[in-house]
Symmetry: D2
Subunit: 294 residues, 4 copies
């Protein structure tokens, strides 16, 4: 099998390597000349045998849109485009319709595993037709960990279902990370706790809270036991927001995931207008002193 | 009527003035020589006609305990001690039992109204026996606003019930302030909003959200339209914590009040350990850059 | 002044009455023949002097869209359409552009006050050009409570700003109601509280938490002291959802408002899938018994 | 080594088996005659070589107190009592002091692993003196999984530190379970998701959210794919409450863990007073219909 892979960043770069290790021929394209195999998408399309399979692994939104635009012009009827990036699932119907005008096929695949996927394999959640999923199965089998396929690969449903499942996966991830982090702070706040990194380490085997994220916390604490080098400013990449928006659309209460999202928002505020107002109000009714602005 | 009043801070000082305006004679004691009427609690006790009524208006916890200790030694059988401070309701049974050994009576009174109580009158929530409440009614009538007694005074139940109601009142207050403050930040974040102070001002009459706290927000925004002089650091005084603890004890979900409490905790953190851990984890699994510590 | 008013439901019906009391001539249209003044929008348009002012007070979304569609066909250049309903502010730009093609003017006005607006007057938040706002000022002055205009009317900003402010107002309203309701449940849960309705009643004057919503709680408790006739199922009408969605779009943490929204979602769930999963998990790891499905 | 083990319930029964498999002699006592080795604590004490080690594995609170009371009377100077149950860490100082009067030693050990600990081994968090921990190390080594001791055992700090760490562990567990459960409900709510159990199964290898709890969810969904046999009523056992109370005591915001606790409270409410009040209020101001009580 010989496929195209567009986008060779932190994820795509490793995926190319893993695919090649599994014997799949990959022609990769990236704007970064240091990592790309070909100098243009035209060259990538030209290099592939028909019917072509092109895996798109670029940032969601405008960049994915522009790559889909370009491929809808350059691929041929019967070719298959796989969006493996973190696109919002609502984008998938749009891309499917756009590509269907040229009889180009589409499937979406949520990919989890981060920078560790190269060695561990990736968890894969796919959406599309049975036929298209089947056609791409050698790719999925190469990317996922060894062992039972059902433990790391799922055909969730029609187009969009893969990205929907990935969005929920990432929403859960927000909640898990926040939960561990709250526990971390509770341990850090208590002077009777003399071995905080050791406590996390001891949770790795046997306990109910053992997980891969926990293993990574242990690793982070080994590298910097007090996390002293790190600021408490946390970005979010969109999937957490979409999860909350979908929860609202479905009338599903998701307080833990939302708490995790808001904690990130708060972490980025130097001078919260809301809390200045609370301080102002306490002063107004109770005469409580406000702290002067820095 | 002639009563004693111990504690002449922001609340007690104004209450003495309001009581005197209503024709009640007040002998006040405070450690601050500039405001006190007498130089000791002994003098205060000596000045009062028997059976004495002494209103205690000092910070809750150790200071209230020490005043109750002293009064339990110096008051006589049949005297009445009123705890008008923000004591946790669980303290009231303890004080009642302690005073009952000397046949001294006790009632608790939650007092709301802040620094505006002098002119507006105070809202009063009382706990104790019918007989003791009745004995103190002239005091309550002097402190509360004019008009129907039931609009500003309530005998909630037995000893402790007044402070319990005041605790819940303050818990609600946390939630109300947080809700308004969140709305304030949403308005402040939106560039199509050209008149933020005017928007709050226009909510004062006619809208569903009109309230006294809203009037105070308008006042705060008149004094400092961008709240530029105020830091976003917000203290809490204990009642919010107790409310959440009581909610837990009663298995009652109180997510809005708790959100308000946690927002204050967060406002006081310069460098949240929890959020540093989330940042560290994102780096571990996804290679996302952390922001270096300041 | 003579204006048209489309939509004579709970809000529009009362607004027509208040406008007429203030001496403004109103031709009202509603699909309900019992309340309408004219039998069609055509008749309404024909009845009005040019340049016409038509106030639209119908449910947001599809119905508002269809009324705007019809009016864009039937009004003339120079006429003014006012959307006084609870449209999402993002709709206003769309309607403005649509109407501008016919040189019809547009302004948005958030209206608060509920069924009490007839007697109390309404709080008004407007968005649009100075000129259009000025043209409609007699209407606003008739609708709002007497007294200083700035206490019940605001020109928030350009088109959409009025509805944005109304959305935030309603988001705050969610948080306020939830906060009071949590306090209500805390009082209801405590057996030392012997007079729950009386406690709310006594908060009306003097306390920090006094508000119009509190007055309405007192009224509700007078009518049904234990709220025994009411189920705990609470609808939401969209504004709370939009507030949270806007908060996410602006990266503003709004935990109290969101808690209020989620409490409503939960109130409508008979059999939460999430909590069944938590129960299943507790059984899996700890052997804790699950409760069998009803 | 020969130790006593008091409490042979879901945890203790399995622990006795695991200890014996590892070659440690165990005399177990339980009030249930079907599982006990001896008929009284007296017999248990008599059976052990001095200095005795007695592991207490009974429900926290009153029952643990009464066992400690009895052992303080029956053990001898130099004996060691290990509290392996889920006692609140604040109890440990009390028990230490009580036992110290008889020169009986004490250490606390939080034990995680649930019913799976028998086969997988238990994660252990201990508090006490180096000397006492060292004396009990063969027991810890028998109970924990094979492999590096530091991956499943930690000496957190002095007396109480083990239970504190276990409390935080369980608080985290609440947040993790809630996060997964919210994701489960989001998948269940979406009709494009055609294979919900398969999605969870596919998260087991490769994904960021993989964990032991996830494996248990997969198992639960295999046994009952729609969780149809389970009611959404979820108990809590105290550790989640204590975690939130400690967070308040330490001024640490823990919104995700608290959300998990409150979701359990809500799950047990048939007829929430708070939400009835919100419904009543909506009716009061907006004329919105309430749903009649069932």
């Amino acid at each position: 099998m010989h496929i195209g892979l567009i986008g060779l960043g932190k994820m795509g770069f490793n995926m190319r390597a893993r695919l090649r290790e599994a014997g799949i021929e990959v022609t990769g394209f990236d704007r970064n000349p240091e990592v790309t195999d070909v100098s243009s998408i035209d060259d990538l399309v030209a290099a592939l045998p028909a019917p072509r399979i092109v895996w798109v692994m670029v940032p969601s939104g405008a960049i994915t849109d522009s790559v889909v635009d370009e491929l809808s012009a350059k691929l041929a009827a019967g070719d298959l485009l796989i969006d493996g990036g973190n696109s919002r699932f609502t984008e998938d119907q749009k891309h499917t319709a756009q590509l269907a005008e040229k009889s180009i096929k589409f499937l979406d695949c949520g990919v989890s595993g981060g920078v560790w996927g190269l060695q561990n394999g990736y968890g894969l959640m796919t959406g599309g037709s049975d036929e298209d999923i089947e056609a791409a199965m050698p790719i999925f089998d190469a990317l996922r960990p060894e062992g039972d396929r059902a433990d790391s690969f799922v055909h969730v449903g029609g187009v969009g279902a893969g990205h929907y499942a990935k969005m929920v996966h990432n929403g859960i991830e927000y909640g898990l990370m926040q939960s561990y982090a709250e526990g971390y702070e509770l341990l850090a706040a208590k002077d009777i706790v003399k071995d905080l990194p050791g406590t996390f380490r001891a949770w790795q085997k046997g306990t109910v809270v053992r997980s891969w994220l926990l293993d990574l916390m242990v690793k982070a604490l080994e590298e910097d036991p007090g996390l002293a080098a790190i600021d408490d400013y946390v970005e979010d990449s969109g999937e957490g927001r979409w999860t909350v928006e979908e929860a609202i659309a479905s009338s599903v209460p998701v307080p833990a995931i939302t708490a995790a999202l808001y904690a990130r928002f708060s972490s980025r505020e130097d001078n919260s207008p809301a809390m200045r107002m609370v301080s102002a109000l306490r002063n107004q009714f109770g005469g409580h002193a406000t702290k002067p602005a820095k």
